[in-house]
């Protein structure tokens, strides 16, 4: 692939430009794109123009945004979207029964990536969004995915500093190790106040028919000691989603 003087591929620079756009900064001036992507302004400007010409970015007044075309290319053949589509009717039922937030997360790298979230207007606080990430050790979905992940990944996570969100986040590797063993045994992760003191995350694994864990389905409910009541509905939802997965 064509490389610049600095040895970077064009694709590398395109990825850095796309990474510049975040939920908090969905529209950026070209100068800001250059700064965030660490590219010379002229280079950024040329690449942005090319991305706009292909509809991957769109101009909006004097700023640029991620284009619908990029979303379409990324979504229409995406295994993520097909998991999400399979899970959606079940997730809706779960959301109706439990209220608050119902979400679906997958393991991506060393984090949980949330591919869907249904929220009620007056739901308890929840720090995740769709396409947002959380560390594996801190969230209920992450703990479920980590508990059933390879030992290589588990040891890598356990060897690193475990950052805390609240005083309830598990930051001690030995404690996390015990929690993961418990999750494997009981099939559920309960995280009262681990991400936000007012909320409890509850997650269970979604298994393909061959038994492999491919996702976590979770709810975020108030931290009032009643969260465990959601477990039967979660388990049933995970069973229904899993039974629909063919690959």
């Amino acid at each position: 692939m064509a490389r610049s003087d600095s040895g970077e591929s064009v694709l590398e620079r395109v990825v850095r430009i796309l990474e510049a756009f975040t939920p908090d900064a969905p529209a950026l001036g070209v100068g800001e794109v250059a700064r965030r992507a660490g590219l010379p302004p002229a280079t950024a400007s040329r690449l942005v123009a090319d991305l706009v010409a292909h509809g991957l970015l769109v101009r909006d007044d004097r700023r640029v945004r991620v284009g619908t075309r990029l979303w379409e290319l990324a979504s229409r053949a995406s295994p993520t979207l097909s998991l999400r589509e399979t899970a959606m009717p079940v997730l809706e039922d779960l959301h109706r029964v439990v209220g608050h937030h119902a979400q679906l997360g997958v393991l991506d790298g060393d984090e949980v990536l949330f591919v869907e979230r249904l929220s009620a207007d007056r739901a308890v606080i929840n720090l995740t969004r769709i396409a947002a990430r959380l560390p594996l050790h801190a969230s209920s979905s992450g703990q479920v995915l980590l508990a059933f992940a390879s030992t290589v990944l588990q040891e890598r996570v356990l060897a690193r500093p475990l950052g805390g969100f609240t005083r309830n986040t598990i930051t001690d590797p030995a404690a996390l190790r015990r929690v993961l063993a418990e999750i494997r045994e009981r099939g559920v992760a309960l995280c009262p106040g681990h991400i936000h003191l007012d909320a409890t995350g509850v997650a269970v694994p979604v298994r393909r028919p061959d038994g492999q864990v491919v996702a976590a389905v979770s709810v975020v409910v108030p931290n009032d000691g009643e969260a465990a009541r959601t477990v039967p509905a979660l388990t049933e939802a995970a069973r229904r989603i899993g039974s629909r997965l063919t690959h």
Copy 2:
């Protein structure tokens, strides 16, 4: 941007590779990617390797798929996703009331692009999927978006051959012109059997607080003459979505 001997930019080739993946062909061998993208096998192979290295494609056995990373980059800062997130609680309520399919479409190019769809397990047949497209003249969402689009776009669509899905699809430009005027007056499009003889699409415009139409919210219900009963629920849903849009 770096160009190949044929004068194409790298980005152009990357887009053609991404376009090779569709809902019906989400996983492809590299040879098939090359064929669909119209690229020499060696070129396709090099670009696929670079896309895999960046997580935009992922290897799956001997084939490649669209990667979660591409979906994440495209989604997290996407205005499409933010419209979808805003609309979601309302769309869920609509789906609960109407059953069958509730969907949200936006104008993209000369087509309607569906950015969300909620379906019941036993819903009437529906040919759309998320991130799928339909022609503007043939679908209820498309007719709504066309009715409130620029006259330039309207004239362009009216000047072209209007393809038929069923014997009910409007393929006569003069008839379509009358239908668009009616939609502007009544604020609703009703398409009994236009896409599939057993289904009726009903769509209404979603307006931003400044009055601009930015999306269509629609339902797909049986073609049994009862479809117009869904109009009040649709109108209320569109009003609620519109009132939440800030830009």
